[in-house]
């Protein structure tokens, strides 16, 4: 079984090499048989990976514990569902899963485009095969999933980590991989276009849908990760700027930038070199993300561990890939340099340029800040921590700028907006923004970032509403139907645009959810039965503690009642589960009460069964459900944008397109339907922390160094309910506060004891580079943008008039007929 699997991997590697060689040779010699053989080999690779995958899954199902990987991530008591999905639970299997997905995606891409882009196909095959070969090589020489125990075969497995035994954790990796792997396809197309020199828009059109699908899966994957962190880890938050979280975010930024800038190329033929570079960068970032997770160069809750050999292999591959890709960009520079014109700053093109600038600013900042501790240690020798407060602080301005741009972009005209134009377009949205902003101020909101966020959200919603309304009216005029039909027809005729607008609304919802976290309330209490804790407008009364067992785990559940103004709202049951064979890693079952306005969130990190007492941490998270709604709406909007051209025309769409989107939608339904609220529904005496205490807890990093420690601030550590390493530092902090020390003294004392890494926001002159450099680079980027744009606008408009040759009137009439029939 294990040798079969290993030989399949070896065979896959050889076949991949064959495919690459055949395709390139066939393309160079223009020999059809060679190319066809290469394509066949590509399909063969997919078939072999399917066989290899089924071998490993079979091994999991039958409990073949002679294979190390199976032994590590499964045991006989594990439910079937988790046995199947342990395939991607560990490092080796996840690499094989990556190759499997890539081979399937690649085969689909080749099959769909086999007639339309014949000249590109051989090179696409070659590129994707090379990537697959790299990952296969990793497995063959270093991380073999089929590796066996040489001597004693264990009779049972270790079992999957209980933290991973839940629905979200099963779905989150494949969704993320689908996103990452999907982004390889646009890269392959882009490189093929560069290599062959066919640099017109055709490669863009081929990859547009792929990029959207991959982007969708990446977004959903990130969302699922956030939901998991929120519901399973129990620290009350959903994003902690963990290096690996950031690694997943980076290609998302660049892919979003790419999706926008292709529109400029399609409309105006501009930004061709930029688009190609973006697609290369996106692919590089997906590799980089994989590398970060698996190499151990950053400490993270996601880390598989340290692996220098793996790091080296990845580094070599990434560097070679960059040299190869950008080498071709330089080689094809003459073809990529088109005449560009930017007529005005107040134009849609300029808005897209700004959009790209800001998204890359986000990506650059996150990347730099994530790598800064490593960088700083190399330069100064001091280990520092760049924690969530730092990210939250510096990302807010950038995020707000992005939000407002989302509203401005659609309002600007192509080429140039006149003043009358501007007035006409901007009045309503600005009014909306002012209205919302005024209301928030009137309601007493004084946090500037949240207030601005609400105002900008109002602005964006105003823009999008106006777009839908006016578009429907225009269509009503031209087609003479009623408003509703016009609206549906509008969306049907411009799926990409209006799907995109829906996605923008989803982004607004996300930002609203993020803004809510500024009003978070936290409380912790030690409660015996009958005691109550107060938070916000809620009163939580602890009733009892029960101990039950279901054969797989022991469950300690607290029975709590929530009251508001004396009226009982609901009962909630926070719990801790101790799984067999993993009693040292109990899971925290969070109790959440969800409403649109806020979440009541109760966690029980500690308990005393003999006393029936529970030590609970209660959080009120305002507006957090808008984040999940935002993700749902994002998926919906993307599906609309992805629909084939003929959908809504009630005609049968072309099968490959329809099949692609149908599969994507089915997959998404399968993923998101069961993801309906899973957390249970349904636990002081007192510890009332002072404001200063909370503030300092946000600034001090836990240095417990336990297994899986992620170096989070004391108040925010996702490992908190399980790990109690923060107790020592919390006690110390309490002592300092009791002594009456000021914040600065306390922080200095901590630094003296634990080193500079204990501070969440790096201090010191060198460390201020952590934000100075990205912001500085962004400023430079902006200047470069302005300079390039000015250069473009001063060029004489060559060929602009040259394209209008006198049309044959008969041809013109035919064209008008066809245009009319199109609708």
């Amino acid at each position: 079984m294990s040798s079969l699997g290993y030989y399949l991997l070896l065979a896959a590697f050889v076949v991949g090499a064959y495919a690459t060689a055949m395709s390139v040779a066939g393309a160079r010699r223009r020999s059809r048989p060679l190319i066809e053989s290469g394509i066949g080999a590509f399909y063969l690779l997919a078939a072999i990976m399917t066989a290899a995958s089924s071998v490993i899954v079979y091994a999991f199902l039958t409990g073949d514990y002679s294979i190390r990987y199976v032994q590590r991530y499964s045991d006989s008591a594990q439910p079937l569902f988790y046995k199947l999905t342990s395939y991607w639970g560990g490092l080796d299997g996840s690499i094989m899963f990556w190759v499997f997905l890539l081979s399937l995606f690649g085969s689909a891409a080749i099959y769909i485009n086999r007639e339309r882009h014949r000249e590109l196909i051989p090179y696409i095959v070659a590129i994707i095969s090379t990537v697959e070969m790299f990952f296969l090589l990793l497995m063959i020489v270093h991380n073999n999933p089929f590796e066996t125990y040489l001597t004693e075969n264990p009779t049972d497995g270790a079992g999957l980590n209980p933290l991973l035994q839940n629905f979200y954790m099963v779905i989150h990796p494949p969704t993320m991989y689908l996103g990452f792997v999907g982004l390889t396809i646009p890269y392959a197309f882009g490189m093929a276009a560069l290599i062959t020199g066919y640099l017109d828009d055709s490669w863009l059109r081929a990859v547009r849908r792929w990029t959207m699908v991959a982007w969708l899966f990446l977004s959903i994957g990130l969302g699922l990760g956030m939901i998991w962190a929120y519901e399973e880890l129990g620290w009350g938050g959903y994003w902690m700027w963990d290096p690996v979280e950031n690694a997943g975010l980076l290609p998302w930024f660049t892919a979003t930038a790419f999706l926008h800038s292709v529109m400029v190329q399609e409309r105006r033929g501009m930004l061709r070199m930029w688009n190609v570079s973006l697609v290369i960068l996106t692919f590089f970032l997906t590799l980089f993300g994989t590398f970060m997770t698996r190499s151990g160069i950053v400490q993270s809750v996601h880390s598989f561990g340290q692996d220098p050999v793996l790091s080296r292999m990845f580094t070599i591959f990434m560097v070679s890939m960059l040299i190869f890709s950008f080498g071709f960009v330089i080689y094809r520079m003459p073809l990529l340099r088109a005449r560009n014109e930017l007529d005005s700053w107040l134009s849609r093109e300029a808005a897209f340029l700004f959009n790209n600038w800001i998204l890359l600013f986000c990506a650059g900042f996150v990347l730099f800040a994530t790598m800064f501790p490593t960088l700083s240690e190399a330069v100064t020798g001091e280990r520092i921590t760049v924690g969530p407060p730092f990210f939250n602080q510096w990302m807010i301005p950038i995020g707000l700028a992005m939000l407002v741009l989302t509203g401005i972009g659609p309002l600007l005209a192509w080429r140039k907006s006149t003043l009358i134009n501007l007035r006409d377009q901007f009045v309503f949205p600005i009014l909306c923004g002012l209205l919302v902003g005024g209301t928030t101020v009137a309601l007493g909101v004084r946090i500037w970032s949240s207030g601005l966020c609400f105002a900008f959200s109002g602005f964006v919603i105003g823009t999008i509403t106006q777009e839908f309304w006016r578009g429907a009216r225009v269509r009503q005029h031209t087609t003479g139907t009623d408003l509703l039909t016009a609206l549906i027809g509008l969306v049907g005729r411009n799926k990409r645009r209006y799907g995109g607008y829906i996605i923008h609304v989803a982004i607004v919802l996300l930002f609203l959810g993020f803004a809510g976290s500024g009003f978070k309330l936290e409380e912790s209490a030690l409660l015996t039965p009958g005691q109550e804790a107060r938070i916000g407008s809620y009163v939580i009364r602890h009733n009892s503690l029960s101990v039950t067992d279901d054969g797989r785990k022991q469950m300690i559940t607290a029975d709590m009642t929530v009251l508001r103004d004396g009226v009982e709202l609901t009962k909630m049951y926070p719990a801790r589960w101790f799984f067999r064979k993993h009693e040292d890693q109990p899971t925290t079952e969070v109790a959440i009460r969800r409403t649109f306005a806020e979440d009541l969130y109760i966690v029980m990190p500690q308990f005393d069964a003999s006393q029936q007492s529970a030590n609970v941490e209660i959080t009120v998270n305002p507006l957090v459900n808008w984040v999940w709604l935002g993700f749902g709406l994002l998926a919906f909007g993307t599906l609309i944008a992805l629909l084939p051209e003929t959908a809504f025309a009630f005609a049968v769409g072309r099968v490959p397109d329809a099949a692609k989107t149908a599969t994507a939608s089915l997959l998404l339904l399968a993923i998101t339907l069961p993801a309906a609220v899973q957390a249970q529904d349904g636990a002081p005496g007192r510890t009332n922390k002072t404001v200063m205490q909370r503030d300092i807890e946000g600034k001090v990093i836990c240095m417990c160094g336990s297994v899986g420690c992620v170096r989070s601030p004391l108040n925010n550590c996702p490992m908190r309910p399980a790990c109690h390493g923060y107790d020592a530092q919390t006690a110390q902090l309490q002592k300092f506060l009791n002594e009456g020390k000021g914040q600065d003294d306390i922080l200095t004392a901590f630094v003296k004891e634990y080193g500079t890494a204990v501070l969440a926001i790096p201090q010191g002159r060198f460390n201020s580079l952590s934000w100075v450099l990205p912001y500085g680079l962004a400023g430079l980027g902006l200047l470069l943008l302005v300079a390039t744009a000015r250069r473009w606008s001063t060029q004489p408009s060559v060929g602009a008039a040259g394209g209008v040759d006198t049309l044959d009137p008969a041809l013109d009439a035919r064209l008008d007929d066809e245009l009319r029939d199109l609708d």
Binding site: R116, E119, R470
Partner: protein, 213 residues
Amino acid sequence: MSSETSTESQPSFEPWQLFTLAGLIGATIAVFMARGESPAAVIMISITIFAAAGVGIAALRTFLPLTQKTPSDGARIVGGRTRAALEREKTLLLRSIKELEFDRAMGKVSEKDFVEMSGRLRARAARLMRQLDAGAGYRNEIEREIAKRIGDVGVIAGSTKQDPAYAAERQSPDDVGRVLLSRPATTCASCNTSNDPDARFCKHCGHSLEARP
């Protein structure tokens, strides 16, 4: 897939059908042999066997093209722009024009810009339409020529040219075609060489072709 590459007509088995059948038989045997195991394991075995069948089909797809004696298809690959691709590009251009008109109605494009941008797009579309027309025209002419020539000599094979395309072309309003069609190939009376329809002297023996029986 494989049918594309096989040149001879196969009324019986396609290779991939053979593999699918082998896969089914293999899966049945394997499932029978493993009947004591859990359902999930049995399903996995079947899937593995099918995967193996898939490997076989793909392997065939890989190596069969190498055995085919088809000549280099360089022109098709380099040219790349099949008729379907041209049609598709035209449709996309038309949609772009429509989108531009919509933007103008929404006030996102000024009148002057609209005229210029749509003019450019229309010119491109017109060029494509001309290309599509021309391509169709030449193709028809070439097919007619071939049909005409093979139709005369092809009596040897015992098959007369009953090409429906040929028949259809007779109804085409193309004057040139009709002229060509109405002039059958001339055979020299003395040496029996087939000559071009507009030839006046035989290219082999030089005999005058004007007087015809």
